[in-house]
């Protein structure tokens, strides 16, 4: 990953797309090196992409191991318009009072997140965009 450590600024087109309540598709790698794709809630704020998950799922484990991922935003009206963003994990923030997941939930559903299940721990991922490619860069 040498040479791509600098942060990438996102263009107005990408920021406009990211403001919509669409899901971002994230790509991480499993232990065996195969690609895992997941559509997830996100927020773009202060130049970072913010994700949140239950710590038991696979993609957060993959992301913590590799500390990098690839993200894809697609224009829901024009599926050929997209932005592919490579990012690196800069910090992992526990969300014990589920404030961040509530905030994300409001963005997508207008409501607070559901009650957490027993032993469900939420964590927030702060992602630095590193490179952006695609049709709307």
């Amino acid at each position: 990953m040498a040479g791509v450590r600098a942060a990438a600024a996102l263009t107005p087109a990408v920021r406009t797309l990211a403001a919509l309540p669409i899901l971002v598709v994230i790509a991480t790698k499993r232990d065996d090196g195969s690609v895992q794709l997941n559509p997830v809630w996100f927020e773009l704020k202060d130049g970072f992409v913010w994700l949140n998950s239950n710590t038991n799922r696979t993609w957060p484990k993959n992301l913590q191991r590799d500390r990098e991922l690839t993200m894809l935003l697609i224009d829901p009206k024009v599926p050929d318009r997209y932005a592919q963003i490579r990012g690196r994990l800069v910090s992992l923030i526990p969300d014990p009072k589920h404030e961040f997941i509530d905030r994300l939930s409001r963005r997508y559903t207008g409501k607070k997140f559901r009650e957490l299940e027993p032993n469900e721990h939420r964590v927030t991922f702060k992602i630095q965009p590193v490179t952006v490619t695609g049709q709307m860069i």
Binding site: M1, I22, L23, V25, A27, T28, K29, G33, S34, V35, Q36, L37, N38, P39, E68, L69, T70, M71, L72, I74, P76, P79, D80, Y82, Q84, R86, G134
Partner: protein, 133 residues
């Protein structure tokens, strides 16, 4: 071993939206891009120029993951882990033209030469279509 698609997946894969494909770059990062696809007889078919990054990646590592997601209702999705089992030239662009009719209902407007079609065999299917959550 290839898996058979469920009846729900058979129906879902006839819907018209791009597949999001993930392939492994040489530097171990993942490339993800949307591409046209079709599902036929249990295999997935995509089409591209031989210069596409994802085709180069697949020649080195045939593993490919497809995310099929309804762009209008993004909770409807399936993840297909697969591998490229075959690729062949697409003489005259017959296959890309067929895909163009599936997506745009008209003849393909781009170059019809130098194209290839790729067959992907599904190995595992997860996601909301088959009821996983």
């Amino acid at each position: 071993m290839a898996v058979e698609l469920s009846p729900k997946m058979q129906t879902f894969t006839q819907e018209v939206f791009p597949a999001i494909i993930g392939t492994n770059r040489k530097d171990a990062s993942v490339e993800i891009v949307p591409v046209w696809f079709e599902q036929k007889d249990g295999s997935f078919w995509i089409n591209g120029g031989t210069n596409r990054g994802w085709f180069k990646h697949l020649q080195r590592d045939p593993r490919i993951t497809l995310l099929l997601i309804d762009p209008k209702e993004m909770f409807r999705w399936a993840q297909v882990e697969g591998r490229m089992v075959n690729w062949a030239e697409d003489p005259g662009g017959e296959h890309i033209n067929q895909l163009s009719h599936r997506y745009l209902k008209k003849d393909y407007q781009g170059p019809r030469t130098g194209r290839i079609k790729i067959q992907i065999e599904p190995l595992r299917v997860t996601g909301s279509i088959d009821g996983w959550r």
